[in-house]
């Protein structure tokens, strides 16, 4: 059986470019946030060091507020400039109607600084599918969606996250980013087993895998890209790789400057696992 080679990359963050400059064969690509490029276009030059895969938190695909045309246009332009093979986006919302929008229809939407998981129900499923159609028509590359971390169950949910993602994949064929840290966080916070949640996902749709750390505080498991992925997350990656070969695995060690030796070691481990 012939597998296509899974590429291994690193999310852009403190020290990432230095690492790649020092050792060009360390990664196959850098994952770059659209928002970072939008505010610092000079970062586009990093594609001289490594190919870029574009990640995004601006489309609000699970939200009910349309993303402004100018933002969608900017994303489309950035996709073209970076020659990204796909646009990674969160299965989440980052803007929402103003609290008093019913009373004051002109009220500006609430803009978040962090993506939030929606309720999982039919209405949101339809909305995500609509948004995917609308935004995909504006882009030359496919949008793939990332499972968000769950910190609380949103009111109105009629299904779990894995069920929702399975139904969405079935209805739209959308490709997925499987963020293993998010999955472990959601499983812990919702009282489920990470392994069984992985098994319930449509893994055949997974295009990219994300790995990062998480931390337990105040009785809740939190996303934490300032710490490394734990051993249990590598075991989960192994479990996924037993079933599918994603096109890419990205280490998201991007909230802090990690010791280069640690990043190299973890990248080597991912390289070994995908080469099995």
């Amino acid at each position: 059986m012939v597998h296509r080679r899974t590429r291994v990359g690193l999310a852009f963050g403190p020290g990432a470019v230095d690492l790649v400059e020092a050792q060009p064969d360390l990664v196959d690509y850098l994952e770059m946030p659209f928002e970072q490029l939008r505010h610092a276009p000079a970062l586009l030059a990093t594609q001289d060091r490594a190919p870029l895969i574009l990640h995004c938190a601006s489309l609000s695909v699970a939200g009910f507020v349309n993303t402004p045309d100018a933002v969608v246009e900017a994303i489309a332009r950035t996709c073209a400039l970076t020659e990204t093979p796909w646009l990674g986006e969160h299965l989440a919302f980052i803007s929402a109607e103003a609290l008093d929008a019913d009373i004051d229809p002109g009220a500006a939407p609430t803009q978040l600084t962090y993506t939030v998981s929606p309720a999982y129900n039919e209405a949101v499923l339809e909305r995500v599918a609509d948004n995917l159609r609308r935004y995909s028509a504006r882009l030359d590359v496919p949008i793939i969606l990332e499972n968000p971390p769950l910190y609380f169950a949103a009111p109105g949910s009629t299904m779990g996250q894995a069920d929702f993602i399975r139904e969405l994949a079935s209805a739209t064929g959308v490709g997925l980013i499987l963020d293993l840290s998010h999955l472990m966080i959601s499983a812990y916070n919702m009282g489920a087993e990470a392994e069984s949640e992985v098994d319930r996902l449509p893994l055949e749709n997974v295009v990219e895998v994300h790995m990062s750390g998480h931390s337990l505080q105040s009785g809740v498991m939190w996303d934490d890209h300032a710490v490394t992925a734990p051993e249990s997350e590598f075991r989960l990656l192994d479990r996924v790789l037993d079933r599918v070969r994603p096109e890419a695995v990205t280490l998201e060690y991007n909230w802090d400057a990690f010791p280069p030796a640690v990043v190299r070691k973890h990248l080597a481990r991912v390289h070994d696992l995908v080469a099995r």
Binding site: F64, A96, E97, L112, V116, A154, S215
Partner: protein
């Protein structure tokens, strides 16, 4: 607005304005007006989630406050701290600063009001913030230019000499020495915490003219008292009076002269123009 959109509107409002969550907790009837009567909205979890968002907005400080962030993680208080800070800011507290220095000062100022004074780890974090922000402050502005040679040479410091600090100097009083803070920040989470010494550390953070580096000086009480008064306007006699209650003696001048010899202070005679 559809019901699904309404749920998102309420969550988004709570995350961006955590003071609303406090109100909703106190008066659940307020949520009724937003169409979520009787819905199971985990307000405490949303309040903590606002803390995660606030924490992420401070990621840019990790490079300049590395020990402080490691200690916050060690204490496992990041979410609680940043959730409280988010609530504070949204309740009319000072907005987040635009620069690293402003943002760091805002966080440190809030931490001092929030921390548990009985918790030694919180004490370490408070000192760590002070220590790292002092260095950040000096490095945030271009070094002051070189002033040229000091008007008075070595050994020529007399009671009427007027001393001023060369470059920039910040004075801080910490319970823990910076090297102790740094060591504690990389210790294992369950390692014993350093004992707080009985006496505080008097520290000078000095940046010489035309120099990026910051030198850390451990001061004794006399050095601290003198340096706080070296304003480039008062004579050493006046400084000695303020510190010891007596005119500058030879012993006092002997203790102060090294500041000029080390290049930390410039000296001039009365009437001589400042450099």
């Amino acid at each position: 607005m559809s019901e699904a959109a309404r749920v998102q509107a309420v969550i988004a409002a709570g995350l961006t304005r955590p003071e609303l969550i406090t109100r909703w907790m106190a008066d659940p009837g307020e949520l009724d007006r937003h169409g979520l009567a009787g819905r199971d909205l985990d307000l405490a979890a949303i309040a903590k989630f606002a803390g995660l968002g606030m924490k992420v907005r401070h990621n840019g400080l990790r490079a300049v406050l590395p020990c402080s962030f490691r200690l916050l993680k060690r204490a496992r208080i990041e979410i609680e701290l940043f959730a409280a800070y988010a609530r504070h800011v949204s309740s009319g507290g000072a907005p987040l600063g635009a620069t690293n220095l402003e943002r760091a000062r805002g966080l440190a100022g809030f931490f001092e009001t929030w921390r548990d004074v009985r918790d030694p780890l919180h004490g370490l974090i408070g000192d760590s913030l002070q220590n790292e922000i002092a260095v950040l402050e000096l490095r945030s502005a271009p070094p002051v230019p070189e002033e040229g040679a000091a008007p008075l040479g070595r050994g020529s410091v007399v009671a009427s000499s007027i001393l001023g600090v060369r470059g920039r100097l910040l004075l801080r009083e910490l319970r823990f020495a910076p090297q102790v803070i740094a060591a504690a920040s990389v210790d294992a989470d369950d390692a014993p915490l350093p004992e707080a010494p009985a006496e505080t550390h008097l520290l000078g953070y000095w940046q010489a003219p035309a120099c990026e580096d910051v030198e850390l000086l451990e001061l004794d009480a006399l050095g601290w008292a003198v340096l706080t008064r070296l304003d480039g306007a008062r004579s050493l006699d006046e400084v000695a009076h303020a510190v010891t209650g007596r005119p500058a003696t030879d012993v006092f001048l002997g203790l102060v002269s090294p500041l000029v010899e080390l290049g930390m202070a410039s000296a001039r005679r009365p009437g001589q123009p400042s450099p």
